[in-house]
Symmetry: none
Subunit: 125 residues, 4 copies
């Protein structure tokens, strides 16, 4: 369910956070479900517990999960908010791309059409 890519430039704790957020946003983890314990996940992923701890702590500050000391970590009930946030990020990323295309003098519609085509090819597998 959670994969770490050691070749990825992003730090491990960041990859972890993204994984958990994705799982939550996609609904693969239900609200109030208990997450693997820091130590267990550390063993499973062959990662130092401190690194897991850091990811969980940041996710708690962001409201993605809540933690009950001595009991464990549990997913928050905010999938809707998560989805909204991710949607806004995608929108902002698109706008940034649009701006760059504009500056380079590229046709936006042409670019989008080509992106769609090559995307379909890839996902036809």
């Amino acid at each position: 369910m959670i994969n770490i890519d050691f070749k990825d430039r992003r730090p491990i704790y960041q990859q972890l956070m993204d994984s958990v957020e994705d799982l939550a946003a996609k609904g693969l983890l239900k609200a109030n479900a208990q997450l693997p314990s820091v130590r267990q996940l550390a063993v499973d992923l062959s990662i130092n517990p401190n690194t897991i701890q850091r990811a969980y702590a940041e996710l708690e500050k962001r409201g993605v999960l809540y933690t009950v000391p001595g009991k464990g970590s549990f997913l928050s009930d905010n999938r809707k908010q998560l989805l909204e946030d991710k949607e806004n990020k995608l929108l902002q990323a698109l706008r940034d791309i649009f701006a760059q295309a504009l500056e380079l003098g590229l046709s936006l519609d042409d670019l989008l059409a080509r992106a769609k085509n090559s995307f379909k090819e890839v996902t036809h597998d």
Copy 2:
């Protein structure tokens, strides 16, 4: 022409490289035009000369510029190649966004339409 943002997360040498590439891709710097000397740019931007040196060295390795010992650094004549590269990067970025939208169950057309709309509003200034 070249601005450095110290609060930007990207390293300074990276920002420098991006700036030069952008200027070249947009045609604001012509082929074979002489670039500011390492020392001059270091003074202008209040940056360590080593940092400028690194950026120039990387850009030379990428073929964006060439250096004539004792004379200075000059822009290569490869605007076409640069534009193509940037276009491919944008396409790849779009495909990544498409994939994420798909995973989140968002409507791609809807997302694109909204991005276009909010983009137009912003750029109507």
Copy 3:
């Protein structure tokens, strides 16, 4: 009467102690009234009996309640003392706030007036 908030940062045994002390100070629990048994409360609140045990033990150490082996736990007759303690805590908290306001250069009277106003608004329900 007693509520536990698992998302509260305070440990559960602490929340329990605070609840009992509050009920006693407010007079909602009379002197010598019998408290729920450890087992009963553990079931009611879905909490580990050890946690209840710890809270009761601490409360007994503080003189808030007394335990008759084989019969149960009963509230001590010290509401006056409890009230005084809580009052002193509030006074100390106020003094701390005053000190902080002073350090930040805020007007104490102004701050108090605004706190009163916004407090009244909230409690006018």
Copy 4:
């Protein structure tokens, strides 16, 4: 300027954050001033660099400081915002106290008057 109390219950990194925020809010540290380096402060306070690093990282996320990798950490220019935040925290703390006093049946004006009096005595030194 920065003191750590090992008897304090608050974790060290938390004390550190509070200290820096206080210095910034009180204006004892000017905007864009460079903070001691992680390693230097670690030596000065006899604390592990990781702990300093953690405090600085959190302060950066809160916008209290910004960091230029390879150069150092610098105070952000947001004293006004900091002061406002601290003021709101004090207001909220006051409202909480008011609510508790109300529940205990204490006279708010009486409580405030006594707090003021005892506060003056202490600060008359």
